[in-house]
Symmetry: C2
Subunit: 426 residues, 2 copies
């Protein structure tokens, strides 16, 4: 019988962060009655199973109204399709309505979730051994994981309470270059980041474009949470400010529609020039990579998302009114519970202006051992912030998620957390 040595498998299999996430899932499985302030998935009672067929029908009706023949409609849903997908025009229109981002439909690639958008963008941009990507740290695990699969190094740029500082990006990019490597791109979540909850002020967004220009970087702007601010005021997307085409925008429908479609996208409107002077669009060049990862994104899944977009008048903001209200209520409940149970203690926390997450600094080591105790003896789950650092950090901080819980459970979750910290600190 074959026995494979685990240490001979790729580092993307054996990375300790994977083990940590497995541990978290395993603990969650062992203590199913624990309140999970760890799960950052969307709340899942906004849609019903029948909505899938409803939105499929809406998309097919739209194609018919455009005069598309029945044979072409059948092909659009059931056959292989264009590598970059069929929703480019709909997504371009939605980006204009909701985000004031104006890009040609051909600059949009529909991907198998935003995760694939990261893989495709990083793969296309990083070709030489010393090509690296920078990333705001603490960093979303999906991004560091995508880079690891490709063997591309991620260099962290430490985030502050006010988000990434442009001068820090410039410094890190300079250090990378001085070491003989080449920084190709900077990954940043512009609104209510996972895990920190932090957003970039408008001035920082403009300044980041300038830094990217000076340092000859592209910015990979990821914005899965932008719709879910505590109020309707919010700085423009970096991409909306991007007259120089410094930004590749990464999009997700996992939160704004539902995760089960596994549809995301990227916007890559940069010009590519070859040796003979021929000019193409980066999205078209990247399609070769996409074709070798998943061929194309399931047209059935695309049709469901297309049905949502056409039914909403191309506004996810309009389509998400109920969800926006729910997530606001939950984040306010989380922040109120933190105030109620931790005010006057050694625990401090940040106050994100939206999104699914907040971070608490705690006077105890927030490691896997504490998490096990927390689940078993206190009935509450959370995520150690140390998971989100590449080279150490976050040892005394925890990520609290409020997206997947019924609102009324949040206060009890934080109460249990306070009991844990009080118990562990004594």
């Amino acid at each position: 019988m074959v026995e494979l040595a685990r240490e001979e498998l790729h580092t993307s299999v054996t990375d300790p962060v994977s083990a940590s996430m497995n541990f978290l899932n395993e603990v969650a499985g062992r203590f199913p009655d624990a309140i999970s302030l760890a799960a950052g998935r969307p709340f899942d009672e906004f849609y019903a199973v029948d909505d899938v067929a409803k939105y499929l029908d809406a998309y097919v009706a739209f194609l018919r109204s455009e005069g598309v023949s029945e044979a072409r409609i059948r092909q659009a849903l059931l056959q292989y399709g264009r590598t970059n997908g069929q929703l480019g025009p709909m997504i371009a229109r939605t980006l204009e309505v909701d985000e004031d981002i104006r890009v040609p439909p051909d600059a949009i690639m529909v991907t198998s979730g935003c995760q694939e958008a990261m893989i495709v963008a990083v793969r296309g941009l990083c070709s030489r051994p010393g090509d690296v990507v920078l990333a705001a740290e603490p960093c979303y695990l999906g991004f560091t994981g995508a880079a690891r699969v490709l063997g591309v190094e991620v260099v962290p740029v430490p985030e502050t309470d006010g988000g990434l500082r442009p001068e820090t990006v410039a410094r890190v990019a300079g250090e990378v270059r001085a070491s003989g490597r080449c920084p190709r791109a900077l990954y940043v979540v512009s609104n209510f980041a996972n895990p920190s909850g932090v957003s970039l002020p408008a001035a920082t967004r403009r300044a980041l474009i300038d830094v990217a220009d000076e340092q000859d970087l592209l910015i990979l702007e990821d914005d899965p949470y932008g719709l879910f601010g505590l109020d309707d005021e919010r700085p423009p997307a970096i991409k909306a400010l991007d007259c120089e085409q410094r930004v590749i925008y990464l999009g997700s429908f996992a939160k704004s529609v539902f995760p089960g479609a596994r549809v995301g996208f990227l916007v890559a409107d940069q010009t590519v020039v070859d040796e003979s002077g021929t000019r193409t669009l980066l999205a078209d060049e990247l399609s070769t990579v996409k074709s070798m990862v998943t061929v194309n994104t399931s047209p059935i899944a695309q049709a469901v998302i297309g049905g949502v977009l056409v039914s909403s008048g191309y506004s996810l903001r309009a389509a998400n009114r109920e969800k926006i209200a729910f997530y606001r209520r939950n984040l306010r409940a989380l922040l109120a519970a933190l105030e109620r149970h931790f005010a006057g203690t050694a625990v401090t926390w940040n106050a994100p202006a939206g999104g699914f997450f907040a971070v608490a600094d705690v006077p105890v080591r927030a490691d896997e051992k504490l998490l096990e105790v927390s689940a078993r003896d206190y009935g509450v789950l959370w995520t150690p912030m140390s998971f989100f650092y590449l080279d150490g950090g976050g040892s005394h901080a925890i990520r609290l998620a409020c997206s997947a819980l019924a609102t009324e459970r949040i206060d009890e979750g934080v109460r249990r957390l306070a009991a844990l910290i009080a118990g562990a600190g004594s």
Copy 2:
């Protein structure tokens, strides 16, 4: 404005084979009335758009019949899900019914098309700089492309008319090892390969397992065409003979159901052992890679495939009776047309026992220039076999596909091809 230098993008973007495939698509676009003996996609009139909702319903009805709650069903379709997917038990049952392959459901990972299965398997197995994969040549472009995205070298093993020869595999593996590299796996299409149409005899299948054992390789067995033999006789899948767990089986529903679902799978029932002696299943270890490529495969797309499987009594062979008859008719029409138009000329061809493809050796250089002439002046498209060789080869051979055409068009396509060859040779 940003201008990116094309030569600084990754080789998976700039590879000449991509340019060749683009050229082929571009020629096909310019001459839409040409008969395409190039397109190897499935014929798309077996299903209607309404079938999507029908199979979704069938899957939901199945879950209800199993006592799954409505809340769980909603989550199964709309929420994130298990990384390795939810169809493991159904696929395991289907493999047993159709292929006599017996594997535990947990050894199955559902992927975003078979393309992702290749990416995940190659990534997991190849970790060190000198780790390479062997592949039968001429080779499916999706496999060489997947390896290129990951920066993993593919070493060709030349195929003969009788398929891959085990002693050649042993020789190439030995040469690779002697050069200081490590051959980790061998990619082979066991039935009616794309592009060659060649199948492996039963004795070769057994011998390949022995060679894999001797050389400490895994076999990546890809079998998208196995259902579509000219008769019902067919050697067992290599995986069905695999008592030693030497084989990772790669599966596709693109031909047996339809491509638009973008659902494939891999079977990895190998044991993995870590330094402490803990034993896990390779499919579970590879799930970390899968999670960083696409998180999980669209549950909606999985549900459609699940609906097909449950409706067919877990037999794709039963579900595909009409398609099997159609593809048999088309391949027989292609072989008859070759006989009719080329017998007694310098053109020779092989006679595959099934599948979508045959190969003709022609007395002229079958390059892009000839393809352009063929499309413009003769109204017929085909694929240069040179596309499928890594280091030269196939310069005087063409791949003929018969899957996407109405049967009655095939003879006219081959007649046009004969006119081209007669004209080019004179």
